[in-house]
Symmetry: none
Subunit: 184 residues, 2 copies
DNA sequence: TTGCAGACCTGTATC
DNA sequence: TGATACAGGTCTGCA
């Protein structure tokens, strides 16, 4: 019951990260995040109807889950773990992350439906997972609309970091953060 | 782990009350209970589909739970407590009673589905909670069909104490039992 | 294997 | 409006 990198947040201490994020600067948060935080892409997932429906969960493709958010075998089925992310405006999101034996799947459950609702995500939209290039404990979650042209729409109605992926796919998962996030 | 009024029954000592009731008279047990045990109504609840469905639990409205079956704060989330009741034929029923933090609800769990099955309770039927007027440690659980006319059906297919509530609602929770049942 | 028990979660209604 | 109650739902361990 310990995260290698301090991710096993308790259910208490709620809105803390949110407040911290608020205290940073006077820029629009979006600008700030876009220009000042060095991030590397981990993976992205096009949302299925179930991911945005009433099941209130996001299935994380096993390959990515085991690479970037590995649960240490023995305790996987335990209480569940919280993964904290920052979104495009610096807002903190915390999701329960666990492995479902019944479906052999890694899922984000608690908190996910709120994210879907606030961002108005729909099937086909894409969620992006990133982390800080230097501080591997800082994770970021972004998204873009399914119809947003990947390169052109920088400030258009695209979404959070919709232009983030104008880089090369080969750039995924590189950078100084070689340490693997270990949970449990 | 002690009830202020001796409610922490053990799993043993089964059919005792039933045998005692048998030794009393030649009346039907139902009649016997009706006429000889001074009870006061605590509250009643119309059963929801969930209360009688496969969730195997009865949600007890918070107002009533906290008034009549208060769990001492600190230990509420503990192992759970047993509440013992007698039904309309003197049969003893024991239910696990606990508080669910996630839904902020008081529930009867273990044992409840057996009661539902034996009494053939359905959504809309009403369960009645009473206690002995003088001996606050004796709790009673009754029920009546949703379509049973409250006053008239004394011996009809009504159910356990279906006519109990022909009294005034203002009579609820009165009597000599002023001590509050304290659990944990 | 199935069902129960326990814990957890969420949308809706309501205050 | 924000907070609360709870009906209805989920998954998991266990018997």
């Amino acid at each position: 019951m310990n995260t290698a990198l301090g991710f096993n947040l308790n259910e208490e201490e709620e809105e803390l990260d949110e407040q911290l994020a608020d205290e940073r600067e006077n820029h629009s948060k979006e600008e700030l995040q876009e220009h000042e935080i060095p991030k590397e892409a981990l993976f992205e997932k096009p949302l299925t109807p179930s991911d945005v429906g009433k099941l209130n969960r996001l299935v994380i493709p096993k390959q990515h889950a085991e690479k970037y958010f590995p649960l240490n075998g023995g305790d996987s089925g335990e209480k569940g773990f919280l993964l904290g992310f920052e979104d495009e405006v610096g807002k903190s999101w915390r999701f329960r992350y666990s492995y479902w034996n019944s479906s052999q799947s890694y899922v984000l459950t608690k908190g996910w439906s709120r994210f879907v609702k606030e961002k108005r995500l729909d099937a086909g939209d894409i969620v992006l997972f990133q982390r800080h290039r230097l501080d591997c404990t800082r994770l970021f979650i972004g998204w873009r609309r399914k119809n947003a042209a990947p390169p052109a729409s920088v400030a258009g109605g695209g979404g959070g970091w919709s232009h983030f992926y104008s880089g090369h796919p080969s750039d995924l998962g590189t950078g100084a953060c070689h340490a693997i996030l270990e949970i449990a």
